[in-house]
């Protein structure tokens, strides 16, 4: 039931205005903080105000302008879009608090916060895009806004990372554009409101080319294995950037793009007869295993987290590629279940680096004694990734396995088990070093991270537990994911 | 083919002149010579336009008392008048540029100027 409403466009504009104000008036610290925090809170309120409505199945629509019939800019907050928007706006609030604390001593903060707000406005815009063209517009704007953040430190290494990031993402963007043009050429519309606009009477190899272009383009940002090169090198950026962008906004935009392509552009039944998703599932499975293997040997803490992100993201791709209701629920829900623990881990890494200047895993010996709460939150996040019950990660693995059984892909179960073991292999040593190893010298006294860093860490860790335990409670995002799945599979 | 060329020999002549002008512009080195080649090309085109308007045994289109048809067509002559003025203007500008180049670089040989760049 479509309702005409201003809120889908209001959310991105709020942070757009905030970015503008930060650029204009950002010199003065207090004004800047005021604008960032108020925008974050306001946006969360706007997005949350739409939550009850969309839980009841209402879809908020806002059509802006269309150049010619079928091509234009429109916003539509359906269940899938709402899910992603809720996740990213809640996380934006916590990351803003964290960033204010983290960036105290840094330079160029006006530019940092301005582009930071711009990025999130494009992410929410992405979530509410009504057609592939609006989606592409915000997708490209996201690349442009994240570039200055990646090269924030202005070191030659940062430039190389930025150049690599740009080459990957722009080539991906070009593929998506060509794919979108082919979709429009084949069907005459780009709208993402139906469960699938392509049909099987379009020639097989055109469909294959469209699938390859769209999924290829999106998987650059979703860091699927062959195209993941830019993510580890982008760890050079300051932690709030890596936390929000490379754990939530940018990579999730790619994953969200894949979900949109599979569910709204192709549609589940078309993909079932055409069968393109089998190779995709294989690649996703391979990425899960290979990324975890590489993560084990990464000594730098943030690079290890980066490879773990790559492997976790492929859960979403795998879930989407299995084309069964349960797997789809797992894929959608994993956006949240991966976002919160991953962001907690990056916050922890940032806090440790800010507090003790340690960046490599072997230096972490005995850190648990000095920063018990921070490492406690890290352990909670680690448990969720390993898939322990009562934590968010368990739900994804559970539904993914159910989905795999449904579609009789038994190899997926093996992948689940092996990946849990590998997760344990690269997270547990950290916990062991932190708590069961004596710290060098006599640093026994507790020296916690400053409150502006610690509070977001603890809240996110709490969220991980809440998401794990209260999935079936009606008000929780889980029901949004189920609503989206019902719409896509037409149940 | 040759017969067609023969009865349009005026047009052929202007085409030949056109190509000679083009040759001079490309091959010659001195700027003044290039500029003269341009003028030759212009004259070639104007001669072609005027040749278009000719009628066998035609008189200039002036309606005097003793004027007898057939008259040559007036339009090409009007066009050429305008064309000649365009040629004059291009000449004026080209010469001013050549004067300026000579005063500044002391030479108007294209290859020496190229080294100077």
């Amino acid at each position: 039931m479509e309702v005409y409403d201003i809120r889908p466009i209001l959310a991105p504009t709020i942070s757009l205005v905030c970015a503008g104000m930060v650029f204009l008036v950002g010199r003065n610290k207090h004004w800047r903080r005021f604008w960032m925090l108020s925008a974050a809170v306001l946006k969360l309120v706007v997005v949350m105000s739409m939550l009850p409505g969309s839980l009841r199945g209402i879809v908020y629509v806002f059509d802006m302008i269309d150049f010619t019939p079928g091509i234009g800019i429109g916003f539509r907050a359906d269940a899938l879009g709402m899910f992603f928007a809720v996740v990213s706006s809640t996380l934006w609030l916590f990351t803003t608090i964290y960033a204010i604390g983290y960036m105290k001593g840094e330079g160029q903060r006006v530019r940092f916060f301005g582009f930071f707000a711009l990025c999130v406005s494009t992410t929410v815009g992405l979530a509410f895009a009504e057609n592939l063209l609006t989606f592409f517009i915000f997708y490209e704007m996201l690349t442009i806004c994240t570039y200055p953040l990646v090269i924030h430190d202005e070191t030659p290494e940062a430039f190389r990372a930025g150049r690599k990031y740009l080459t990957y993402t722009l080539i991906g963007g070009a593929c998506i554009l060509v794919g979108a043009v082919m979709v429009f050429d084949a069907t005459g519309t780009l709208s993402l409101s139906q469960p699938g606009i392509l049909s099987t009477d379009i020639s097989y190899n055109t469909l294959a080319l469209i699938f390859a272009l769209l999924i290829g383009g999106f998987s650059v940002k979703a860091a699927v294995m062959p195209l993941h090169g830019w993510l580890p090198s982008a760890m050079v950026a300051p932690t709030p950037v890596t936390a929000l962008l490379h754990a939530v906004a940018v990579v999730k935009a790619g994953a969200f793009g894949i979900l949109r392509t599979i569910y709204n552009v192709f549609g589940v039944d078309v993909l079932e007869d055409v069968g393109f998703t089998i190779p995709l599932a294989a690649i996703a499975g391979f990425t899960i295993i290979a990324a975890s293997l590489v993560a084990i040997f990464q000594d730098n803490f943030k690079r290890r987290l980066a490879f773990s992100t790559i492997s976790q993201l492929s859960y979403i791709v795998l879930g989407a590629a299995l084309l069964t209701p349960f797997a789809a629920t797992a894929a959608i829900v994993h956006i949240a279940n991966q976002a919160f623990p991953k962001i907690t881990m990056f916050f922890v890494a940032g806090a440790i680096q800010r507090k003790t200047g340690k960046t490599t895993v072997h230096e972490l010996a005995g850190i648990g004694y000095r920063m018990p709460w921070t490492m406690g939150a890290f352990s909670v996040a680690a448990m969720s990734f390993i898939g322990m019950p009562l934590f968010a990660g368990f739900i994804t693995k559970w539904y993914l396995s159910l989905g795999a059984l449904e579609s009789a892909d038994y190899w997926v179960l093996i992948v689940m088990v092996v990946s849990s073991m590998l997760n344990a292999a690269y997270f547990l040593p950290i916990i062991y070093l932190a708590f069961f190893k004596a710290p060098p010298g006599t640093e026994m006294h507790v020296d916690e991270a400053p409150p502006t860093l610690l509070v977001p860490i603890l809240i996110c860790a709490a969220y991980v537990i809440i998401l794990g335990t209260t999935a079936q409670v009606p008000g929780m995002p889980f029901s949004l994911a189920e609503a989206a799945v019902h719409f896509v599979f037409g149940l | 083919m040759l017969e067609a060329l023969w009865n349009n020999v005026d047009y052929v002549a202007s085409v030949v002149l056109f190509c000679i002008g083009l040759y001079i512009i490309i091959a010659k080195n001195n700027l003044i010579k290039k500029f003269l080649g341009l003028n030759i090309m212009e004259t070639a085109v104007f001669s072609f336009i005027v040749a278009l308007g000719v009628v066998d045994g035609g008189e200039p289109p002036i309606m005097g008392p003793d004027a007898t048809p057939p008259f040559a067509s007036p339009i090409p002559q009007a066009l050429v008048l305008t064309g000649i003025v365009v040629a004059v203007s291009t000449t004026a500008l080209a010469l001013s540029l050549i004067i300026r180049i000579y005063r500044q670089c002391g030479t108007i040989e294209a290859d020496e100027l190229r080294e100077m760049e």
């Binding site: 150049f67 010619t68 063209l133 430039f159 082919m182 | 056109f18 291009t90 540029l97 050549i98 760049e117």
Partner: protein
């Protein structure tokens, strides 16, 4: 019998008359010249606005100076493609305002020349308006001459040492191309007996032999290719557009180069309705030349360090886009090509204006010298970054529309290769623009005094920022140019059953 149409001759003659009177007006003091030119351009803008409103309401209309019906007199035909008068007038007005401070700053130029600078600029703009509006072949040639002559002189105006040589090269190639155009107009006149475009088109199909019509088509296309600086005949453009003073480079790169394109559109109009020649192989040649121009322009631009030379090469590759759009000659690709005529003018003018501000304040032209200017001249650098983003075609900006429509047209014409070439060609362009943005913001300045440089003066900054804002918005406001271009594209393809 006052009716709307009297604005049409007014729109052409105001700038020309204004130009003729500029030396008279600035007898007392040369500063009057710029205000006089602004007044003249404002009147022209009003005229252009009225004409555009009329074409929007009633579709193409024509005016008959002297009262003679079309084949017997000159017919001024104002159709949708002539609506590009709007961008000519807009950028013209801003260029005049921009030159207020810029011409004072040109050291080597003696001050008595400045009135002639403004009269040449007004002649150039008047010639372009005339070219775009006329429906008569020979009148087209006359206006083509006015705007070409004034552009050669304007290129030679700046005191740089090789300005005259670049202008002379430009003059030679421009004169040859004008002669080719005149020669083919004469052939068409010989074949059909009339000079009015619509009349020539109808009578051409009944001409007894095809060879001269084909020759005329070939020569017209080559002539207008030289004017539009397409691939094989583009060699004059880089020197000419980089040596010229910045407001003039903006007018040259943004508008004068587009005149070649509009000339080609006029040829398409004639030969499509005449239908005497199969345009298929010509389209193919144009598409290939467009593709080579894109790659070649982008490739050369990467190795340039001088900022204006880089922008000049990027003009060549953008002309490649437009010609490819025309060459594919499907409904969407022609829309894409014509929209880019409009949008590229805005983007390129922003970039040249901003580059002019940088050179005006710092005196440096190369990227290595201009490092770190982003901190001391924030507004100009933002304008350049917006220009850079829109020339690459990132969605919300003006450059995106053309890529979208031309790629769509490429698929519509079953030639997907060009769609791919176009999109990935654009990435080439991004490399040298990211170098520019990096140099401004993220690299340590090579000349320390660059940090104390003041922001550009208001009269130069306003045009830059206004156009930059327009670039940003044009991506979304694409409806306005599209509303004009769609009917025109349909009419252009109608005879081919397009």
């Amino acid at each position: 019998m006052y009716d709307w149409a009297h604005w049409l001759p007014l729109a052409i003659l105001t700038p020309l008359l204004g130009a003729v009177l500029t030396p008279v007006v600035s007898l007392r003091s040369r500063h009057v010249a710029v205000w006089w030119s602004l007044g003249v351009m404002t009147v022209t803008s009003v005229a252009a606005a009225m004409l555009i409103i009329r074409v929007a309401l009633e579709g193409p209309f024509s005016y008959l100076p002297g009262g003679w019906e079309p084949p017997y007199g000159i017919e001024l035909r104002f159709d949708e493609f002539s609506a590009s008068v709007s961008v000519i007038v807009l950028i013209g007005w801003l260029a005049v305002l921009y030159s207020l401070r810029y011409t004072e700053w040109l050291r080597e130029v003696p001050k008595q020349r400045i009135p002639y600078y403004y009269s040449l600029l007004l002649l150039n703009l008047g010639g372009m308006i005339g070219f775009v509006v006329t429906g008569d072949l020979f009148n087209l040639f006359v206006f083509l001459e006015i705007l070409s002559l004034s552009s050669y002189a304007l290129v030679a105006f700046s005191g740089e040492h090789i300005a005259e040589m670049a202008a002379f090269k430009y003059l030679l190639m421009g004169a040859i191309s004008s002669l080719l155009v005149l020669f083919s107009i004469a052939i068409l006149f010989g074949l059909t007996g009339s000079l009015n475009m619509a009349d020539v088109a109808t009578r051409l199909s009944s001409a007894e032999s095809v060879a001269p019509a084909a020759l005329a088509l070939g020569m017209l296309t080559v002539g207008f290719m030289v004017k539009a600086a397409l691939f094989p005949v583009h060699i004059w453009l880089p020197d000419a557009h980089s040596i010229a003073p910045s407001p003039i480079s903006a007018v040259l790169s943004g508008l004068v180069v587009k005149i070649g394109i509009l000339g080609m559109i006029r040829i398409y109009q004639i030969y499509n309705t005449a239908g005497v020649i199969d345009m298929h192989w010509l389209n193919h040649v144009l598409v290939w030349l467009g593709a080579i121009s894109i790659v070649m322009g982008a490739f050369f631009a990467i190795f340039q360090d001088d900022i204006k030379l880089m922008l000049a090469y990027s003009t060549i590759s953008n002309i490649g886009y437009i010609v490819m759009g025309l060459g594919l000659s499907t409904n969407f690709s022609i829309i894409g090509g014509s929209v880019h005529v409009f949008n590229h003018a805005l983007i390129k003018a922003t970039l040249f204006f901003a580059a002019g501000c940088l050179i005006y304040r710092t005196g440096y032209r190369t990227l290595t010298d201009l490092r770190g200017v982003g901190h001391s001249m924030p507004l100009t650098s933002i304008a350049i970054s917006i220009g850079a983003i829109s020339i690459v075609g990132i969605p919300p900006t003006a450059g995106f529309l053309c890529k979208w429509y031309i790629t769509l047209g490429a698929f519509e014409a079953e030639q997907p290769f060009f769609g791919f070439a176009l999109i990935f060609g654009a990435l080439f362009i991004f490399i040298y623009y990211i170098r520019m943005v990096n140099a401004f913001y993220f690299q340590a300045p090579t000349h320390p005094e660059i940090l104390e440089v003041k922001e550009a003066p208001a009269s130069m900054l306003f045009p830059t920022l206004f156009l930059a804002g327009l670039c940003l918005v044009m991506g979304i406001l694409g409806r306005i140019p599209l509303a004009f271009i769609e009917p025109a594209a349909q009419r252009l393809l109608a005879p081919l059953g397009g």
